[in-house]
Symmetry: C2
Subunit: 460 residues, 2 copies
């Protein structure tokens, strides 16, 4: 039998826009022993994590919990819950992840209207508001920090305009949560999706989300309790939104029932008594068009699982929850404002260093995302060769980009635990050496001195 080697990943300095390095405390958290999903000690950790996420999202929302999947599972869960087939959705696009929101909404059967900005820019809020008034959407889905171009979209005025018009607004804050301000309540955002593996420095695997009562109201209108968990007698009369308790400690009587009992003319529970199975045709009552088509990503079920009712759904990801809790705990210990300031400080040093090296930053500087620096690949330099040499010789990873920017820019992330003086200085010396090795003409030594000047000023 083939033997597989011991796992021994090479330590990396990861300066991409995610996944980034995880804090050693987060990595250690995952090595703790597993608790059962309904162990009171574990459900206490779940509740505590919700409390911590509310602080992170700056919200008083009841619902703030992780979806068990990578960031796009959170985006899809929120959109799946809030978009009904035929809904009008507006997606303002200013980079790759606007296209993803469009894709998700289209697959859900929405009529998707889009507006686009050239990559490297963001929207004036009034441009989005004019589009809203032109197409009157049910929902606006928009990216906050667009890592493909390194831009940040101001959201406050757009959030206010949506609220005034009673339109739901869903925000992709995957790249910004924990790194730059995300003001869920102050900006009147109805649902916000964060990312684990970026500014939170938690390994990819959970998508923290929050949503308010306006969003919940739409979910509850579409809610359907999972068949296997419906109580036997109450099933037909079960009002939408009511909880059926699972067969779990601390909850009360639930019973599984045959599918057939739902449909007219069914045999009811008779099949349970008989040894010869009877073929049951599909229930005559079709699912309404409004029913959420996913079970795994059905927020109306997930919130019951995260509620005191603990209605059984999936098996919560124990170790990822340990990691997320520790990551958010680190954020709150540092303090959100201090953390945002740290990201700005290292951004300033990095940018000063890159400019002193003679590199050109890409995009409109007025909307630069603090946690990503996009650098134009110099004329005559093979961008992929530079990236490979950085990784192979120095163990430093930076990113390329997508679509129209492929081969045109590098993207350097300074996110979470990866956002440190050590990493910024290492990147500057290594990039300088690699560019010189590739024949670039630049003044050796200037970059690090410029970055050190910024750090010594201490003003940022």
């Amino acid at each position: 039998m083939k033997r597989y080697a011991d796992l021994a990943p090479t330590p990396r300095t990861i300066l991409t826009p995610g996944p980034v390095e995880a804090d050693p405390r987060v990595l250690r958290a995952m090595s703790h022993t597993v608790l059962g999903q309904f162990d009171p000690e574990f459900t206490a950790l779940m509740n505590e994590t919700m409390e911590m996420l509310r602080e992170l999202f700056r919200t008083g929302n009841r619902w703030a919990y992780p979806v068990d999947g990578t960031s796009r599972s959170g985006l899809e869960a929120v959109l799946t819950g809030l978009i009904e087939p035929g809904d009008r959705v507006l997606v303002p696009i200013f980079g790759r992840f606007g296209h993803l929101l469009t894709e998700l909404a289209q697959r859900l059967g929405a009529e998707v209207y889009t507006i686009e900005k050239p990559w490297g820019e963001v929207f004036e809020p009034r441009e989005v508001i004019e589009a809203i008034d032109a197409c009157r959407p049910d929902l606006v889905a928009i990216v906050h920090g667009e890592t493909s171009t390194g831009r940040v979209q101001p959201l406050e005025a757009i959030g206010k305009a949506c609220r005034e018009r009673d339109i739901l607004i869903v925000v992709d804050a995957v790249a910004t949560i924990g790194g730059v301000p995300v003001e869920t309540d102050a900006w009147r955002l109805d649902a916000v999706v964060g990312g684990a593996q970026k500014c939170l420095s938690v390994p990819s695997g959970m998508a923290p989300i929050t949503y308010n009562e306006r969003a919940e109201a739409k979910l509850l209108r579409r809610k359907r309790v999972e068949r296997g968990l419906q109580p036997p007698a109450a099933a037909a009369e079960e009002p939408p939104g009511a909880l059926a308790a699972a067969g779990l400690p601390g909850s009360s009587g639930a019973a599984a029932r045959p599918e057939s009992a739902a449909g007219p003319g069914s045999a009811g529970h008779a099949a349970l008594a008989s040894a010869a199975p009877k073929l049951q045709p599909p229930p005559s009552s079709e699912l309404g068009g409004s029913v959420i088509r996913s079970n795994y990503l059905d927020l109306s079920q997930l919130q019951d699982y995260w509620s005191p009712a603990r209605l059984n759904h999936h098996t919560e990801m124990t170790s990822m929850l340990y990691a997320l809790r520790e990551g958010v705990r680190l954020v709150l210990e540092e303090g959100l404002e201090a953390r945002f300031a740290r990201h700005r400080r290292h951004e300033s040093a990095l940018v000063a260093g890159l400019e002193a090296m003679g590199q050109r930053l890409y995009g409109d500087p007025s909307c630069k995302l603090a946690v990503v620096a996009c650098v134009e690949i110099p004329e005559g330099i093979d961008g992929e060769s530079v990236r490979s040499m950085l990784l192979e010789q120095f163990g430093i990873e930076i990113a390329s980009s997508f679509g129209p920017l492929k081969g045109r820019i590098w993207r350097i992330g300074t996110m979470g635990y990866s956002c440190s003086k050590r990493n910024v200085l290492l990147l500057l010396v290594a990039l300088e050496a690699v560019l010189l090795r590739h024949g670039a003409r630049l003044e050796a030594g200037a970059a690090v001195q410029a970055a050190l000047d910024i750090y010594e000023e201490g003003s940022v």
Copy 2:
């Protein structure tokens, strides 16, 4: 600011049907530093994990990889890919998780036919085959090991019948993979979904799946390349199943394009050159009914991500992949046959001990699932009080059950790392003590002696 305490979960002996204890090597694997998702060292680990999963599933299938979510994400991904709205689906139900398969298929718009067995039994293969011939489904979805009742469904004859009739068969092997034989190829199963947190003893968070060319053919018919990744020129002509390469190291030119370029009469790329965003209406070409409605769980995209093309999709869960790889590596080091024998040995000891204690096992013994023992709660004993005392006084967790079995049985899992002599003996002494404390009449001391007899025989 409120301070949150250091994570310090109490060590537990987990004898539920999942999640169970993780091997310390799996927990350690997760504490390794993060690698970037396109770091060659990480993609090598991904490829190696696929190879290991093929051994685990006993298949020559090209596709064997984890879905990034808990077990039901794997079930939903497979069913979402293989069920088109209006497809006829047959679900034979013999416990709670048959109801889940029914639920998933119904939400996908299938016409779902069901047959049911009383809980505690499984189907005679001919009963399922007769139902197949009566309703002529496009797909059969069936549970292999039903943890709610502790039963295992023989699948070989059913798989053969499906293949002869050119019907797809999807199997929920969440509870059985790595604990009892699952023969993907020999039983002619088209798609199989395994679970991480049961017999593999990996924390919940990934769902290993495999599927063959028959299943892949259906996926490819429904495939749609994500808009943001389509190359600009080729998009309209892109044949289904063709790969568009992402802007990633080692792959070739992809470019994002405006949504508008997809529809007739669109402005094409003009918006990119203009500063004033133009509202683009929904593309006139509606999505066909056949398009996979999920992006996150779209296997046609996931397999491109797991292929050499590495077409960008989600950000792979680094630490969970480390854990899954280590968990499957442990299974292959032990050897599948030796591992199955270990599960049978501890089952025998546990059952002998329970019977010597005077406990009654629930269900038809001819189809008992080796990794779960269901015990009838004795008359006059409060089952939940017994479970609580086991957890609080002894740190041992066992499970209750669902639906018609709630309050009637306990479920004791012996899965993966939790399946050990130490755990079986501890459970027997603790359960005996707790039952005595609850006023049960039983012969003290007999259970452990009976289990030790089995272990000393060494014949099992």
